[in-house]
Structures are given as structure tokens and as C-alpha cells.
């Protein structure tokens, strides 16, 4: 057996953290993700299973910030579910077992890089990156948008100065560059 070392999306052995005067950009390597799409004719079964798991089915443009599993709306009858990677590394398999034929589940952990942006400069940074109405967003609002030509999800988390950005993992370096550049411009 090879002795393989895991690396983060940015290629480090530990998640990267960049601290600026008013904002902190932290790579979050601890999120397991899986997408769930209800199959035609099985929408009600799928909704019921999600409600049981999360406490509620994420509404349009909203997240359910539940613990340990959380989820947000991606499109009609489609959701992204997340959970701590340490305890739910096989999230997609667990959801497949739970949902059976009611939904199509796809592993997404390896497809996304997750950045947590926190600090009083968060809204200023966000405004320089994407056309999301960041100051109007409430905790749990989610919007898919474009940051430097990369399709990303922007999730307004519980804390007022915290957004989570999910971007394409294969472009993690480019997205990180965009975030750092914006952070420097508001410093």
C-alpha cells in the first residue's frame, strides 16, 4: 500500500489562512459535500427524507444550517448537502442508502473548494467580487453567482460578517487569487 498524503484544494498539508486588517480568508478543508436531485415522480419521498434529515427542506435560494448535516437549494428539486468531513467522509454513500430510488446522489467533496470569509470587511470584499446583494442577505441565504468567470455559491452564514464561498476545486488557486486580490484592494 502506498503511503499517500492528503493535500488541501490549494495543495497544502494544512488549510491556508490569509489574514488582512479587516477580513480573513480561510480555506475550509473540513466539508464533505454531495448533491441530491429528486427523481421524477419521487419528489414527495425525497422531500420527506430531507425534512427528516435536516429538519426542513431548503427553500428556493436558502440553506438549512443544521448540524451535523446541512443543505442548500441549488435548483428545482436539487440540493447540495454538506457535513463535517471528519465524521461524514462517505456522505454520498450514506445519502444513497437513505434516499434509495427517490433521488440521484453525486459525491461533490472533490469538486469544490470552500473558503470562509469573515471580518468587518466581508461585505466590501464580496461587493468587489460578485453581484450578490450581500448587505440585504440574511443568515441562510444562498446565491449562485460568477466570481472571475468561475461559477460559485455564496452562502451567508449565521454570523453577520461571515460568508462561505464554494468554487470549482480545479480552479482553487485562481479563486484564491481573486479573493486575496480583492482583500488587498480594501485593506
Amino acid at each position: 500500500m502506498h503511503d499517500l498524503k492528503t493535500v488541501t484544494a490549494l495543495g497544502g498539508t494544512t488549510p491556508r489562512v490569509d489574514t488582512f486588517a479587516r477580513v480573513t480568508i480561510a480555506e475550509n478543508d473540513g466539508v464533505a459535500l454531495a448533491s441530491v436531485a429528486a427523481r421524477m415522480g419521487h419528489e414527495k419521498t425525497c422531500h420527506a427524507a430531507l425534512e427528516k434529515l435536516l429538519g426542513a427542506v431548503p427553500a428556493v435560494g436558502r440553506a438549512v444550517l443544521h448540524d451535523p448535516e446541512a443543505g442548500f437549494w441549488m435548483g428545482p428539486d436539487q440540493w447540495m448537502l454538506g457535513a463535517p468531513r471528519a465524521t461524514h467522509e462517505l456522505l454520498a454513500d450514506q445519502l444513497t442508502a437513505l434516499l434509495g430510488k427517490a433521488a440521484s446522489v453525486t459525491e461533490q467533496t472533490g469538486a469544490w473548494v470552500v473558503f470562509d470569509i469573515t471580518g468587518p470587511g466581508m461585505a466590501d470584499l464580496s461587493e468587489r467580487l460578485c453581484n450578490v446583494p450581500i448587505r440585504r442577505m440574511q443568515a441562510g441565504d444562498v446565491q449562485r453567482t460568477v466570481i472571475h468567470h468561475m461559477g460559485c455559491f455564496v452562502i451567508r452564514r449565521q454570523a453577520e460578517d461571515h460568508i462561505r464561498i464554494l468554487g470549482p476545486r480545479a480552479s482553487a488557486g485562481s479563486l484564491h487569487h481573486a479573493l486575496v486580490e480583492a482583500a488587498q484592494s480594501i485593506a
Binding site: G61, G75, R144, G151
Partner: protein, 95 residues
């Protein structure tokens, strides 16, 4: 131009991609006797109206849904926006 998404509300048209005439939903069905000429018509022939036009738009930078947008090609006024899947299902498609 602003497209009033049926689920997400008003969104900048830069988030969308134009995907052609909404007639593309009505693909000829060979099992129901569609001829090669029907497919030629479907594949190549388009009306080019000066006025109201039903179009397919894809919300690429959003929820990835396909929409049927009724747009006036002279004024860019949009009178109706529907989810393409609702339109297709109402016409007996995607069953």
C-alpha cells in the same frame, strides 16, 4: 435587460445564456411519423419576428434552470417568463 426568474426574482441578463427559439422544445417524434423534412425544419428553419418571440434562456450563472422567455425583439420588453420544464410538461413532453 432584466429577466424576472419565476423562482429567484429579477436577475441581470448577463447571468443567462440565450439558447434559441422556444420551438426547440417541440422536437419531431420519429415514432409518430415525423419525416426527414420535419427534422430539417426543426434543425434549420427559424422565424425571425420583429415583435414578440418565445425564447429559451439558460440561467448559467444561477440555478441552471431553462426558461421560456417571451421577449419583444424590437423593444427588449419581456412579457412572460416560465420554467421550460413546466412549458414542456404542459405540452406533454418529459413524461
Amino acid at each position: 435587460m432584466i429577466i424576472d426568474h419565476p423562482l429567484l426574482g429579477p436577475r441581470d441578463s448577463a447571468e443567462f445564456t440565450y439558447k434559441g427559439d422556444a420551438r426547440l422544445i417541440d422536437r419531431p417524434d420519429p415514432e409518430k411519423g415525423a419525416t426527414a423534412h420535419d427534422f430539417y425544419d426543426y434543425g434549420y428553419l427559424r422565424d425571425n419576428p420583429a415583435g414578440w418571440h418565445e425564447e429559451l434562456w439558460f440561467h448559467e450563472a444561477g440555478d441552471r434552470s431553462w426558461l421560456v422567455v417571451t421577449r419583444n425583439t424590437l423593444t427588449h420588453e419581456i412579457s412572460k417568463v416560465e420554467l421550460a420544464r413546466d412549458v414542456a410538461r404542459s405540452r406533454g413532453r418529459s413524461k
